[in-house]
Symmetry: C2
Subunit: 218 residues, 2 copies
């Protein structure tokens, strides 16, 4: 039971969705085969990296031709678990929660947002992007009924951990955490934290470097 929470090939997994985008658009263009070289050049990457990444999905390409597009799409979808539908709820129906509820793309990846929860009485009862908003204290009752597996957590920071507890208590075992809070969860609960601050940290540092090298270029 070692490494229970360690996902190998993290970087490769994170790159697969970009490949899938490109491959899918070749697919709808009616192309039969796509080479790792072509995918790489589209993304400004090295071809060897694309080949290594695709290898983890189990797909086998043909020398000179590339990878069979239809099989490749299926292989990536399956590897990512995107060929299965998971019902999800949004907890915290603010702007971000609304935005995610409306993301058509997620539906193509098997993420089916079926309900949202909030404490604001003015929101409860209304519907955003086809998703009904329920009172937060009905989690226990509604989650088992609708069979939700995933909670998308978009409450304000101070409410993150209490909401998380309610979510776990309601029987959900996977949480996509958009708050800045490091959630304290019992063993067996899967959490992925989407950290916008760290994204801005990267942009900000890159900006500093760009300015510096622009000065050096003078």
């Amino acid at each position: 039971m070692v490494n229970k929470n360690k996902v190998s090939f993290g970087p490769s997994i994170r790159r697969l969705p970009s490949y899938l985008n490109i491959i899918r658009s070749s697919q709808s263009a009616g192309v039969q085969f796509i080479s790792g070289t072509a995918i790489a050049s589209e993304l400004n990457q090295e071809p060897i990296q694309v080949r290594k990444d695709l290898a983890i999905t189990g797909i086998i390409g043909k020398p000179k031709k590339g990878y069979p597009v239809n099989e490749l799409v299926m292989a990536i979808d399956h590897f990512l678990g995107w060929d299965l539908v998971h019902k999800a709820i949004v907890v915290g129906a603010g702007n971000l929660g609304s935005a995610l509820s409306g993301y058509q793309e997620f539906k193509n990846h098997g993420l089916d947002i079926v309900a949202a929860f909030d404490t604001d009485p003015s929101k409860i009862g209304s519907v955003i992007h086809g998703v009904p908003i329920h009172p937060l204290d009905k989690l226990d009752e509604i989650v088992p009924r609708i069979g939700a597996e995933i909670a998308i957590l978009t409450v304000p920071f101070p409410f993150a951990n209490s909401s998380c507890e309610s979510i776990v208590k309601a029987g959900i075992s996977s949480i996509w955490n958009f708050t800045n809070s490091k959630l304290k969860v019992p063993e067996g609960i899967t959490v992925w934290r989407e950290d916008l601050s760290s994204g801005y940290a990267m942009l900000s540092v890159m900006m500093k470097l760009a300015q510096k090298s622009a000065v050096e270029d003078l």
Copy 2:
């Protein structure tokens, strides 16, 4: 001019914002010193990793006591460039754009969202979270006037590259890209892509692994 676009210490930079959160809350609790050990245990990390990460900011700790909280906050803020204010615009004033405009936290990190742009006539002229929405074709005129440096790109996928072109033409050199599109930009433009799909890919694969190990536990 090698490595112009390579940021060293990427993983460390991405972890710094989490540390900053914890250190800031110690700061407001009036604590004078915080140890790497304490930060690590808060985040379920190894202390050595925290020490290594903090070292890149130039801060020096005191054996047995830890790091001086006030100096540490300043060191991280400065290293990340968060001690400077950058004016930003939102391009694409949908739900996600609105959500980001309202993020109070970003303001604390020097990100000042001063305008939004959209093509939808029903949105133009209105104000979200204090941010006025302008017509997209006024980018050229308004960006130089307000001195915006950063564009937060939250348009739907098909409009990503054309919007990006307009943004660059208007004189902006840093783009925070929330679309799924790999942007084609001229040299010297800094882009950070915030990729929600790759986040969901990670969650999804982790869910598969969790189910598998739950079965193995029987």
